[in-house]
């Protein structure tokens, strides 16, 4: 049993209610149409008006320092993904861009870029653009160039897999002074929507997780003021800047893993209902199904403990690089197998889209890719545990 305080329970109840009423139906609709819900969907306004929920759901916490509530963020990530992981990612808020802001930005920049989120009259999004067509997990290979020109910076290149990028007020864009410098050459800039040369190329069409937009951009001589260089020039002395940005992901990896647990639970519950409806009494198929359900439960319970432990370490200001990677390595394949096992419980009926399970099977695959693939997590763990060399 996981002891939860009353406020966390209330919040989970709130997410559950919104999930049942809005997120699940919106996710199914997006899956049918292939389009994310429009930015002016009334649900987003409800989220904004309730204030805070949005940022909590995407794991942005509730500010900095001691008021940050990692456990609650973890559990809301799980619960919202239970209803629809895609729509959960589409919720308004600063998103991963907010995480970059919190780890790098000056106080003035935080005020300037986060202030719009206090406006609850309409929904606001932030976004982050790191990945490029030729640089995914190996972020050190990004090619988008940043050149100083007088008081401004000029950005040129291309970005993809930018979640909520097209509807965002601003996007944190990572660029390099010179690819030969590796990580030391990286700089992060806040690029407001509508900046000339910052051009939306397309919203990608995906196998699953269709409830949020995945945008690709071209940057053609995008000019931003020096004041938009995150953290100012001083933040990039040495490797601390990049490390700061990466430390952010020690917190987001367990959240990502927790989304998987929510999806695995959804699959489990579908299979459970199916067992109750179709195998009500003793029989070989019921027995096999119950064993499958037990195995699903084992994987999900273990994954959740790994996530909670990683966040617990962070909460105590202890290093959790290794444990966060354990979470991100362990959960997605376990959840993938859980959904596959739930499909096996249902059997042939599982091929039908209205069974929802086949959607989960498509939705879940991206979890093993985004925020560092399973393979990257193995590298991180190998480096941490036995000095696996970098650059191999």
């Amino acid at each position: 049993m996981i002891p939860l305080d009353a406020r966390t329970r209330e919040q989970l109840d709130e997410v559950r209610e919104l999930g049942r009423t809005y997120m699940r139906p919106m996710g199914l609709e997006s899956d049918r149409t292939g389009e994310p819900p429009p930015a002016d969907h009334p649900f987003y306004l409800i989220c904004s008006r309730r204030g805070g929920l949005v940022s909590r759901v995407v794991g942005e916490g509730e500010g900095d320092g001691p008021t940050w509530k990692p456990l609650r963020a973890l559990l809301t990530a799980e619960e919202s993904a239970y209803w629809d992981r895609g729509v959960a990612l589409s919720l308004p808020g600063p998103g991963l861009g907010g995480a970059a802001l919190r780890s790098l930005a000056t106080p003035e920049q935080r005020e300037r870029f986060l202030a719009p989120f206090a406006d609850h009259s309409r929904a606001h999004w932030g976004a982050m653009a790191m990945t490029e067509p030729g640089a995914g997990s190996d972020v050190a290979r990004i090619q988008t160039r940043a050149k100083q020109d007088g008081a401004d910076w000029v950005l040129s290149g291309a970005k993809m897999f930018c979640s909520n990028g097209a509807r965002a007020d601003w996007v944190v864009v990572w660029a390099t002074l010179d690819p030969a410098l590796g990580r030391a050459g990286h700089r992060a800039f806040v690029v407001p929507r509508g900046t000339p040369g910052f051009e939306l190329l397309k919203i990608e069409h995906k196998m699953g997780s269709r409830g949020y937009e995945t945008a690709s951009f071209a940057l053609d001589g995008v000019r931003v003021p020096a004041a938009n260089l995150l953290g100012g020039a001083a933040a990039y002395a040495g490797r601390a800047g990049f490390r700061g940005a990466m430390a952010t992901f020690n917190l987001t990896r367990p959240l990502h893993a927790a989304q998987g647990i929510g999806m695995g639970r959804a699959a489990h519950d579908h299979a459970l209902e199916f067992v109750r409806a179709h195998y009500p009494s003793h029989g070989a198929r019921r027995r096999k199904a119950l064993e499958r359900l037990a195995e699903i439960r084992r994987g999900l319970a273990t994954a959740r403990l790994i996530c909670l432990h990683a966040v617990w370490l962070a909460r105590q200001n202890r290093d959790n690089v290794l444990e966060s990677s354990y979470a991100k390595l362990f959960a997605p394949p376990v959840v993938f197998r859980a959904i596959a096992a739930a499909l096996d419980v249902v059997g042939e009926a599982g091929v039908r889209s209205d069974a929802h399970l086949e959607k989960l099977y498509r939705d879940v695959k991206i979890l093993d890719i985004g925020e560092g693939t399973q393979q990257v997590q193995r590298l991180v763990i190998a480096r941490q545990l036995f000095g696996f060399p970098r650059g191999d």
Partner: protein, 357 residues
């Protein structure tokens, strides 16, 4: 959200036991295996650490320190040498049966005999379907096996054995000696009917014992594998720095980490008196032996031919975890227990919903 921090007294216990295991148990492991016993001096320290009494309640003469304390101690000792652990813990896998046994006087008699080191009690987990007399396929040789709890479906019986064990060679745990017994003709001291939940608790405690030992052995195997595989160079770099090997080690580490969290959580669940602790202990045992079998297999594999030789502890750990995966009725009966309970056990996240916490 403090369930991950061990209380200071358990940290201390773990620290002491780990130090002792590394300094005293590990160096003598092979000698103990040949001798068929841990040396008396080792047994004295293990007893002082509380192995026998830790998780038995005070009402039965135990220390009442709980299941988590026992798990922590078993993990630490097993990392040094698991070989003599079964012999050194005469009621080890019967604590659940002793707690559930409705005849408290009888339970106390058995517990006190075990605590005094005069007798051993074993748990024989039998198939729910009647299939002839139940056998104790393997039990440590010392102290003499006098009591056998038979857990069959929702039935619990207690037998007294008069005859000595028939000596057998076993896959592992030679430092505990070992023999078999049949319950045919044994004197029945009592027979009771338990709820399914109670029965799964009885078996779950035994499985948790095995899980804790498996985790300790597996951690030792993992650490030794890393030490070897970062030192030994093949094709120009350490064994562990070949990506194919590194990836397997990383996955093994994550699985072991998860299994340990699950086992400790199940132990804490017993200590909190939660209704589904036996279900989660059974889950933890499956996770622990799955992770442990994989780790100890890798431990042999990455040592190559050396791993197959008794010159290294790798092959001993390989056998030990495999054996732990067969005890307490084996995997199929564990799956049956989980299947019997899975529809009733709530998600731990929602189990406390409506509570005042």
């Amino acid at each position: 959200m403090t369930q991950f921090a061990l209380p200071p007294e358990l940290e201390q216990l773990s620290h002491e036991a780990t130090r002792f295991a590394a300094a005293e148990l590990a160096p003598g492991a092979r000698a103990s295996e040949r001798a068929g016993a841990w040396p008396p001096a080792v047994l004295a320290v293990v007893e002082k650490l509380g192995l026998r009494e830790l998780d038995l309640p005070e009402s039965l003469g135990g220390a009442g320190a709980g299941a988590l304390a026992k798990v922590v101690l078993l993990e630490a000792l097993a990392a040094g040498d698991a070989g003599g652990l079964p012999a050194a813990d005469p009621a080890g896998t019967c604590v659940g049966a002793l707690l559930a046994c409705p005849d408290r006087a009888l339970a106390e008699r058995v517990a006190r005999a075990c605590l005094a080191g005069e007798a051993r009690a074993a748990l024989a987990v039998a198939d729910a379907e009647p299939a002839g007399p139940t056998a104790v396929y393997w039990a440590p040789a010392r102290p003499p096996l006098r009591f056998v709890f038979e857990s069959r479906g929702d039935g619990l019986r207690l037998y007294q054995l008069e005859r000595p064990l028939e000596p057998v060679r076993a896959l592992a745990f030679q430092a505990s000696g070992g023999g078999s017994a049949s319950l045919e003709g044994a004197r029945q001291l009592g027979e009771w009917r338990l709820s399914t939940q109670e029965s799964v608790d009885v078996r779950g405690r035994a499985r948790l014992w095995c899980a804790a030992v498996a985790l300790g052995v597996a951690q030792a195997a993992f650490d030794a594998t890393i030490a070897y595989a970062t030192d030994r160079v093949v094709f120009g770099k350490p064994v562990a720095h070949h990506q194919g090997n590194a990836f397997e080690l990383a996955v093994a580490a994550a699985n072991l980490h998860g299994a340990r969290l699950l086992a400790r959580d199940a132990a804490a669940s017993f200590d909190r008196g939660e209704p589904d602790a036996g279900f989660w202990a059974t889950q933890a045992w499956l996770a622990a032996v799955d992770a442990g079998v994989a780790v100890t297999d890798l431990g042999v594999q990455l040592l190559g031919g050396h791993g197959f030789l008794v010159d290294h502890p790798a092959e001993k750990r390989f056998r030990e975890v495999r054996m732990l995966a067969l005890l307490a009725g084996g995997r199929d009966l564990a799956d049956a227990d989980l299947a019997a309970r899975v529809l009733e056990v709530p998600d731990p996240l929602f189990a406390g919903a409506g509570a005042t916490s």
